[in-house]
Structure formats: structure tokens, C-alpha cells
């Protein structure tokens, strides 16, 4: 049963991307939009559009009942959730299915089990995927804690079981530190959360973020190699690459294989991403989580493999078996994506929801722009600040960075403040060129004023 009428329950650039992919498959597209998004690009491109509620996301794109009702009333036979909003809501996936439509993604049960940190870690462990060594739950006996820590190897992190957001985290460098810090952590957790439970976990210094793209049809899965997303600000990725640089071939193969193992173990259907922390010094990788949706940075994978991931996830959702085997997927060259946000990088990344003026987007051989802009478009203030993505492909990483640099010089988006100056500075940075980056690199680099330094900064 292939999909005939696809309802797109998202907005912005990913809605445009989904409309394009669906049209290439000959599928009728029905675009959802809030009252504030009636004039967005995906609405203009889709075959039909349906208003699902007021501007605020909670009353429109996040309202499960409203979205499902709109999709059903429009006669849709499938719903694509995009990313963000309801993309990883098991309740939404279930509601779509119960209303007799196809959810373009994995089953509600898979979303649920991968969305829960503990059960995801268990599933990864069961599939033989390395997880960050730790106490696997709370430890109350300090002798047990000491024994565990020496097994894991110092330094270890002590965290409150009931805590969150990094509160009360302590790092013990030695066994002596641990015997001093663990009771303090327990006391503080008791006072702050009414629960003195702690757990311990290995500290990975200056980790890199590497993730593997997978595709599954519910039975079989393949990987489409990995992406490097170590340049992050406030845990948001700003610059992504494929493949990861300087990754030993054996490590790449093991990482990709373990992602496929996990996907097959959970009967994964659709496009998904297995995220890892990579400890470069130890050449070791650890599972962090699995994202059960298409990701913002999927184009870099498309550039190095030539695949259309969004079209493939729609075909698989429609019941087709995966139309390719692992040996069909080849890695060619190097791709980089930068996120273009409507923010002023010189003013602490203050959002700038302006009106789009003159546009010049350099799209040519090996340069792609995924976006939802047109001249005269007023960007609504109600949603996140991503306005587009600039993606380049070159034969080597060096060439890709050069290409990114000239694409950034050529791009023009008048009327808005954007993060283009940030990306120009990154492309000039010696550390970025040399690959001396990790997930904790960008923020100190910004704090040191490198954004304003035309030479690319000291390194």
C-alpha cells in the first residue's frame, strides 16, 4: 500500500524539503500551517494547505488532536512529522496510526523506548553497542562506588539521580577525590531534591560528537556512514560534516556496524540517527542516544552518498522494503553544512525575525541551499530561528572548507541578521581546518572574541 496523500505536520525548511521529496515520488502533498505561517514557502509549493491553529506552536504544530483531525479531514493517508515538534512523540505516532493513517517514522513503541534514556541505554547494551561506562543506576554504598570507579577508570563524574541540567555534577580525578566528593554530592542532592541518590559515569574529556545515519524497513537496516557534529553552541549544532575527519577506518566500520545492529535489534523503520561520543585520544566511542526522525543535518549525508533520505523514508513508510543493500551505498568526497539562523552573532545571538530583502543564494555544482525564504517574506517570531542551511561538497575536507568559504562570500540575505559572520570566522579558523575541535571548543572560542578577529584567531 503506497502513500498517495501525504500530510506534512511541520514548517520551515524541512516542510519544503518534504514537499519536494513527496512530489518527486508523485505523491499529493497537504501542508499543515499555523495562522502565522499561511504565506510560508511550503504552503505555496504544496498541492493543498490546511490551517491547524493559532501562531503559538502549543496551539498548532504541537496540538496532537488538531493535527490528526486536520490530516484526517484532508483525506491524508500518511503524516510526515519532520523534525522537532511532534516528530518524537510516541503519543502522536500512536494517534496517527489509530486514526488509520501511516506515520512516516518508526513505531510508537520504538520512539518510546529510544526516547527514554534508561531503556535506550539498555537496548544499546543488548545490541552490543558500547555505552558510556557508569554505575547503570544509583549507588548508595560508597564502597561499591569506589570499586565501580576504579573499574571504570578515573576521572569519573558524580551526578545526582534526581538532578538535571548539570546541577550538582562533580568530577573526581582520584579515588581520594571520590571518597571526599561523593558524600558531599549525596548531601547536596538530599538538600536540593530530597533524594540523596547518586550515580557515577566515566568522564570523556573533549569528546567529539559523531553520529551514524541509518535507514531501516522494520526488518533490515543499512547505514549511510557518519556525520561529525562537534561544533556546538548551547548544545545546538552549528556546523556539520560528513564523513567525520581523521577517523580510523576500523573505528568507522565498527561504529556504523553497531548502529545497524541497534536499528535491526529494535526493528527500526524509517530514517534514524545513532549518536555517539567519540574519545579521540582513546579511539573509543560510546552510544548517547538514538534520534527516531530525519535530522536537520541529513543533507551532508545525501551529498556524500547521492541518496535522497527523505524520499527513502517515505517509500519505506509506504510499505516498500529497503530498495538498497549496504554494498550499494558509497562514500564520495566530503560535505559540510552550516546552519543559517536569523540571529545576530555580534549581539549574543539575539533573534532577528525580520523581513527578507534581496536574496542571492549560490546554488551550483556541489553547493546546495535548503531554506524557506523568498523576497518580501516576513519571518514569524513564534518558531526557532533556523532559516536555512548552506551545504557544500568537495573532493576533500580541505576543498569543502574552501568551497564553503566562497559560498559564504557569495550568499546574500538582505533584511536580516544571520549567523553567516560566525560561519565565515569558523571557515577561517586554523583549529577548524586542522580538526582540533570537539563539543566544548566553540563556546570558549566565541568568549575569547574570535568572531571579531579577521585573522581567524589564535590557536
Amino acid at each position: 500500500m503506497s502513500i498517495q496523500r501525504l500530510f506534512i505536520a511541520n514548517r520551515g525548511e524541512i516542510a519544503v524539503r518534504i514537499v519536494r521529496a513527496a512530489k518527486s515520488l508523485g505523491i499529493h502533498t497537504i501542508q499543515a500551517h499555523s495562522e502565522a505561517d499561511a504565506d510560508m514557502l511550503a504552503v505555496r509549493m504544496a498541492d493543498e494547505a490546511v490551517c491547524i491553529g493559532p501562531p503559538q506552536a502549543a496551539k498548532s504544530y504541537l496540538d496532537i488532536e488538531a493535527v490528526v483531525k486536520a490530516a484526517r479531514d484532508a483525506g491524508a493517508d500518511a503524516v510526515h512529522p519532520g523534525y522537532g515538534f511532534l516528530a518524537e512523540s510516541p503519543a502522536f505516532a500512536r494517534a496517527v496510526t489509530e486514526a488509520g493513517m501511516i506515520f512516516v517514522g518508526p513505531s510508537a513503541d520504538t520512539i518510546q523506548s529510544m526516547g527514554d534514556k534508561v531503556s535506550a541505554r539498555q537496548a544499546a547494551g543488548a545490541a552490543g553497542v558500547p555505552v558510556v561506562p557508569g554505575s547503570d543506576g544509583r549507588v548508595d554504598d560508597m564502597d561499591v562506588a569506589a570499586r565501580l570507579a576504579s573499574d571504570i577508570g578515573f576521572p569519573v563524574m558524580i551526578k545526582a539521580s534526581a538532578g538535571g541540567g548539570g546541577r550538582g555534577i562533580r568530577i573526581a580525578e582520584t579515588a581520594e577525590d571520590l571518597s571526599k566528593l561523593a558524600p558531599q554530592a549525596r548531601q547536596e542532592a538530599q538538600a536540593a531534591f530530597g533524594d540523596g541518590g547518586i550515580y557515577i559515569e566515566k568522564v570523556i574529556r573533549q569528546p567529539r560528537h559523531i553520529e551514524v545515519q541509518i535507514l531501516g524497513d522494520g526488518t533490515r537496516a543499512v547505514h549511510c556512514f557518519e556525520r561529525e557534529c562537534s561544533l556546538q553552541r548551547r548544545r545546538q549544532k552549528v556546523w556539520e560534516e560528513a564523513p567525520a575527519f581523521d577517523l580510523p577506518e576500523a573505528t568507522r566500520q565498527a561504529m556504523c556496524k553497531s548502529a545497524v545492529d541497534l536499528a535491526e535489534a529494535v526493528g527500526y523503520r524509517g530514517a534514524g540517527t545513532v549518536e555517539y561520543l567519540y574519545d579521540q585520544q582513546a579511539d573509543a566511542y560510546y552510544f548517547i542516544e538514538m534520534n527516531t526522525r530525519i535530522q536537520v543535518e541529513h543533507p551532508v549525508t545525501e551529498m556524500i552518498t547521492g541518496l535522497d533520505l527523505v524520499a527513502l523514508m517515505i517509500r519505506v513508510a509506504g510499505g516498500e522494503p529497503l530498495p538498497l543493500v549496504q554494498d550499494d551505498i558509497h562514500l564520495t568526497g566530503h560535505a559540510i553544512e552550516v546552519r543559517l539562523n536569523a540571529e545576530d552573532p555580534h549581539k549574543k545571538f539575539m533573534p532577528f525575525p525580520g523581513k527578507v530583502g534581496a536574496l542571492d543564494l549560490p546554488e551550483s555544482d556541489g553547493v546546495r541551499v535548503d531554506h524557506f525564504l523568498y523576497e518580501g517574506y516576513q519571518i514569524p517570531p513564534f518558531y526557532d530561528s533556523l532559516i536555512g542551511k548552506l551545504i557544500v561538497h568537495g573532493d576533500t575536507r580541505e576543498q569543502a572548507i574552501d568551497k564553503m568559504q566562497s559560498a559564504l562570500d557569495g550568499i546574500k540575505i538582505d533584511g536580516l541578521k544571520t549567523t553567516i559572520p560566525l560561519h565565515k570566522a569558523l571557515a577561517r579558523s586554523d583549529d577548524v581546518r586542522a580538526g582540533r575541535i570537539h563539543t566544548q571548543w566553540l563556546e570558549p572560542w566565541l568568549d575569547a572574541g574570535n568572531l571579531n578577529d579577521q585573522t581567524g584567531g589564535a590557536s
Partner: protein, 77 residues
């Protein structure tokens, strides 16, 4: 009478969080720089501060209303 306008477009909030009390109630005194509300713009929260001192007369728009830059959010008397 003085108007307090929204510095940015977005969603206006009368309270720091749903559990908290409103920033100001009618009759409260307002000093220059006092926060009277928040505007959420592209998932960031911007504090709306009084540029003049006075007595709070009330909010001009509902909590969680969609506002444009320059819209009157509250008045002082």
C-alpha cells in the same frame, strides 16, 4: 499615562513561569528598569522593562498573546 511597548515581535507573558505570580498587578509601583513581562521570540525570552517610573495600570494584552514590535503591552498611570 505612559505606555510600555514590546521591543520585539513574539508571544507576551505576564509571568516569569506558569507557576509564578504576575510581574506586576494594578496599583504596584514601577521603577525604571523593572521587568513587567517577557516576550518569547524564536524560543528566546526577552525581558520587557519599564523606561519610566509610575504606578502599574494594567496589562494591555492578554497573557500568551501574539504581539508585534511596538505593540502596547501595559500602561502606567
Amino acid at each position: 499615562m505612559a505606555d510600555i511597548q514590546s521591543p520585539v515581535p513574539g508571544t507576551f507573558y505576564h509571568r516569569p513561569s506558569p507557576e509564578d505570580a504576575v510581574f506586576k498587578s494594578e496599583g504596584d509601583s514601577v521603577a525604571v528598569g523593572d521587568t513587567i513581562g517577557l516576550v518569547e521570540v524564536m524560543k528566546s525570552f526577552i525581558e520587557v522593562q519599564a523606561e519610566e517610573a509610575g504606578t502599574f495600570a494594567g496589562y494591555a494584552v492578554e497573557n500568551e498573546a501574539a504581539v508585534s514590535a511596538g505593540d502596547v503591552l501595559a500602561t502606567l498611570k
